[in-house]
């Protein structure tokens, strides 16, 4: 297992390195100058570009980029969004709201998805199942920002229960969460529906399987058989979808953050791309990639816990 973990971490680091290189190349090869401004004198622009090695060849720029990261964990300096600030520091300063909305959305989605998926499977082809299935289709097919708009209009304006925007000045955690409630709900709907849909399908298949019949004949009650065997087996394919869900939520939060004026990582990526703040864009891309890779690693490692039949570690048969 230890060897397996090491190999997975190694693969993850290699992937991250490739993503970093690719991100750097793609962003740096864009024609936009970091210091493009019609009012800036070309001579001053040249000096600024010299200052950041931007007049060097791409391989030389890439060398400085990798050297700074490896030796100092230095991703460069923001030149447009927060000029003069270390981009790593900017990333860190904007993490809390992003983590809050993304992870709370996920933590809400998983249990809710499991509950609704189980209810739908156990009540297969009844009106309960139909209602859940219709909602699932709606929540999967409509993007989160549409729900965000609807929620913002209905619950902050028509029926003013929640504040329109995120309140970073809230004194207590409860107040802060109050202003984050709608973005969290908007982001939770899609993953909840995804889990519900997967679990329903898996559970229905497992409930009608022969091994569950065997479990019942061994004397287990229906509930025991479902919880101990069918439910557990149904979780294995769902764990795979978690990766997609995490990246999906983070993708959705790019727009949701802007909509609710949440100063998080999503807004930063969009802003940095449009502003042409290349150092920052690359750093945010690396951040998103790293989160996805870590999620993949966690899911891979958790296979063994969810399903003891899965033996990892590369042992020969």
């Amino acid at each position: 297992m230890f060897k397996y973990i090491l190999s997975r971490i190694g693969a993850m680091l290699l992937t991250l390195f490739l993503i970093m290189s690719l991100s750097f190349m793609v962003v740096r090869l864009m024609p936009m100058s970091l210091f493009e401004n019609p009012e800036t004198d070309p001579e001053i622009q040249r000096k600024l570009e010299d200052k950041y090695h931007l007049n060097d060849t791409i391989p030389v720029q890439y060398f400085y980029f990798m050297k700074d990261i490896i030796t100092d964990l230095n991703f460069g300096i923001s030149v447009k969004i927060r000029p003069g600030l270390d981009v790593f520091g900017i990333l860190v300063s904007r993490l809390p709201p992003t983590i809050l909305i993304n992870f709370i959305s996920l933590f809400i989605s998983i249990p809710l998805g499991l509950i609704f998926g189980t209810i739908a499977a156990l009540n297969r082809n009844t009106w309960i199942d139909h209602v859940i299935s219709v909602l699932v289709i709606i929540f999967i097919s409509v993007p989160s920002f549409i729900f965000g708009s609807v929620l913002q209009y209905t619950l902050t304006f028509a029926l003013p229960i929640f504040p329109t925007l995120y309140d970073s000045q809230a004194v207590t955690f409860a107040q802060k969460m109050h202003s984050l409630c709608l973005p969290i709900v908007a982001l939770s709907l899609n993953p909840t529906a995804t889990i519900t849909r997967y679990l329903r399908g898996e559970l229905i298949e497992n409930i009608s399987s022969e091994y569950l019949l065997l479990a019942r004949t061994k004397g287990l009650t229906k509930a025991q058989a479902i919880v101990r065997h069918a439910f557990r087996n149904s979780l294995i394919p769902i764990s795979n979808t978690l990766i997609g869900m995490i990246t999906g939520i983070m993708g959705g939060s790019l727009v949701i953050e802007k909509m609710f004026a949440i100063p998080g990582e999503g807004g930063l990526l969009v802003k940095s791309i449009f502003a042409g703040d290349h150092f920052l864009t690359v750093a945010v891309l690396i951040f998103y990639s790293a989160v996805s890779l870590v999620t993949i690693l966690i899911v891979d490692l958790s296979y063994g816990i969810i399903d003891p039949r899965v033996r990892v570690g590369g042992g020969k048969a």
Binding site: M30, P31, I44, D167
Partner: protein, 587 residues
């Protein structure tokens, strides 16, 4: 056991989240609910400013903290009539004193100080200007210190490292409380005041600035956050939660504190217009500037006020596209000019804008000595009459077709078989310009009988200037809206960007007659204003004769203010605005 523990933890987390969601109103709402306690101005910005280093920051939103939290040498202040404004000394002790044609002395207040109590004196200003122009720092706003309303002797040369030393620059310390400015041209007193009333000419706090300077002296983190910045204005910048909220509280120690009435200024950063409208409707904002799409909701609201801005939105025309055989001819540009139904475009496509078949904006000349705008003057009216003689705002389909035929003939193309594709390059975030392209494509089917049609190309994530650098074959049309503040005083400077002398010109069509006339206007700018207006009209005539670029509409800005707000002006004053910084509130 472990499973139960995990389940319990999960349930507890869900419960906590739900309880949190059902909590009391947020802190922001609480402050709004209690306005009687203090006078708070609630407003919003579409974007936050990048930092508080005003010498380098090119973002427009940074005007706000500079206006509220910094001192200037001079400030603009409304007249008692509320219809005009004048300059008052801020950190200066009195208005600039003219020594000779090019030399001005600026006496400084002895009680001006930073928020921490340290004095602001001649050394502070000299250090600030020297830093702004430092060739090693290459500050992006440094050029505006050297040359904007006035041109300071050798400042540009020093900044660009072209030989001048700091001693050659026309900024001198006379004594502890007097600085001297030497200009290249003769200027009026108000030009000196105007020049120094902008954010890049606010002072910087030397001890902190040097602490923030990199070892090689090329970069600085000064102003990156409130810990690395020092204020000295009517308000203290107390809270800056980047991309979310800015809060300024009144600085009672400020020397002109009596002129400012807010106890607190609360600025939310709200990128989405829908959210801004919701806040406005809920009474959580004291003002709102609806955009072209939103203004329809409020068009009958008596609180809605509008004014013509500094911009005439237009289309830059590429004259060098190798794939467009007629692009190099004047006739082609004229065909395009006459093919635009500006009335329909301005009202229906862009929403409540003013059609314009000319280029000098409605504010041009407003800050001149007489206050007469070019558009209201006889020469300006003559140009409008000329344009309208061709058709409403220059729109004339028959002339468009005639010029198209001429352009084809000049390019040895049979107009009856021509099939010319116009690449209309726009930003993805410009739905109105896209709608304009779609409207033109439909209209052109009739006007050019299907021989010239539009293809939209987008340049998402890139500026128009950068996109144009990718090649002349990538575009034919490019919508634009550059305005020049100096045109409020000297109307001809509207055309500043469209000369070959301007390195960042968005155009690639240059005309000798046009440039000669511009230079002539420049040479007589401080002379008789009526003569300048006449010469500006000649310049605009040449512009129209060659369609240097193609004007579409005069941009109109809209604003709404809450009933409680007491503005210091009766109307929008160009170059001054609504004066919300001096406003008051009925509580």
């Amino acid at each position: 056991m472990n499973k139960k523990l995990i389940a319990l933890l999960l349930a507890a987390m869900m419960l906590l989240t739900m309880l949190a969601a059902c909590g009391k109103k947020s802190g922001n709402d609480t402050t709004i609910a209690d306005p009687a306690a203090k006078k708070v101005y609630y407003t919003c910005l579409g974007a936050d400013h990048a930092n508080l280093n005003f010498q380098d920051n090119v973002d427009t939103p940074s005007e706000t903290p500079a206006t509220y939290c910094m001192c200037f040498l001079y400030r603009s202040y409304p007249d008692e009539s509320g219809l005009n404004f004048h300059y008052i000394p801020d950190a200066a002790a009195e208005l600039p004193i003219q020594i000779d044609e090019h030399t001005w002395n600026i006496p400084l207040r002895k009680d001006a100080h930073w928020n921490n109590g340290d004095p602001i004196n001649a050394d502070t200003w000299i250090y600030s200007f020297k830093t702004a122009l430092d060739p090693k720092l290459a500050n992006r706003m440094g050029g505006n210190v050297a040359n904007n309303v006035i041109t300071i002797v050798n400042a540009d040369s020093y900044m660009k490292g072209e030989g001048a030393t700091w001693e050659d620059v026309g900024i001198k310390k006379i004594d502890e409380y007097t600085i001297q400015i030497i200009t290249e041209n003769e200027n009026a007193q108000k030009d000196i005041c105007n020049h120094f009333y902008s954010r890049e000419k606010t002072p910087i706090y030397q001890p902190l600035y040097e602490q923030c300077l990199s070892a090689d002296g090329t970069t600085t983190s000064y102003g990156s956050d409130l810990d690395h910045w020092m204020g000295c204005g009517p308000y203290n910048f107390t809270t800056w939660d980047y991309d979310n909220v800015q809060i300024y509280t009144k600085n009672p120690d400020y020397w002109l504190a009596d002129l400012f009435h807010w106890d607190e200024v609360n600025i939310r950063i709200v990128p989405e217009m829908n959210a801004r409208v919701e806040l406005w409707e809920k009474g959580e904002l004291d003002d709102l500037s609806p955009d072209a799409k939103t203004v329809d909701i409020y068009i009958d609201d008596p609180r809605l006020v509008s004014y013509g801005s500094l911009y005439v939105d237009h289309i830059d025309i590429n004259c060098k596209n190798p794939n467009n055989p007629i692009c190099g001819t004047d006739a082609y540009r004229k065909a395009v000019y006459h093919s635009l139904d500006r009335e329909t475009l301005a009202k229906s496509v862009f929403g409540h804008m003013e059609p314009a078949g000319w280029y000098v904006n409605t504010q041009a000349g407003l800050l001149s000595e007489s206050g007469l705008t070019y558009r209201d003057s006889e020469p300006g009216n003559r140009i409008e009459d000329l344009v309208n003689s061709w058709g409403p705002y220059g729109y004339n389909p028959d002339m468009a077709w005639e010029y198209f035929v001429k352009a084809c003939e000049e390019s040895n193309i049979d107009p009856e078989t021509a099939d010319i594709e116009i690449l209309y390059a726009i930003d993805d975030n410009s739905p109105t310009w896209k709608a304009c392209a779609e409207y033109l494509e439909q209209q052109w089917q009739d006007i050019f009988k299907g021989h010239m049609h539009i293809k939209i190309v987008t340049y998402a994530g890139m500026s128009a200037t950068d996109f144009k650098k990718t090649g002349d074959d990538k575009w034919d049309f490019s919508p634009n809206d550059w305005g020049r503040g100096a045109s409020r005083t000297y109307p001809y400077t509207c055309f500043y960007y469209y000369r070959s002398a301007y390195s960042g010109s968005p155009n690639n069509y240059f005309n000798e007659d046009f440039e000669e006339q511009y230079d002539y206007c420049e040479s007589i700018k401080t002379g008789d204003y009526n003569t300048l207006l006449e010469e500006t009209a000649k310049l605009e005539e040449i512009y129209l004769e060659h369609v240097i670029q193609c004007p579409v509409f005069q941009d109109v800005s809209f604003s709404m203010f809450s009933d409680d707000l007491v503005l210091p002006v009766q109307t929008y004053i160009p170059g001054f605005g609504w004066g919300t910084v001096y406003a008051d509130k009925n509580v």
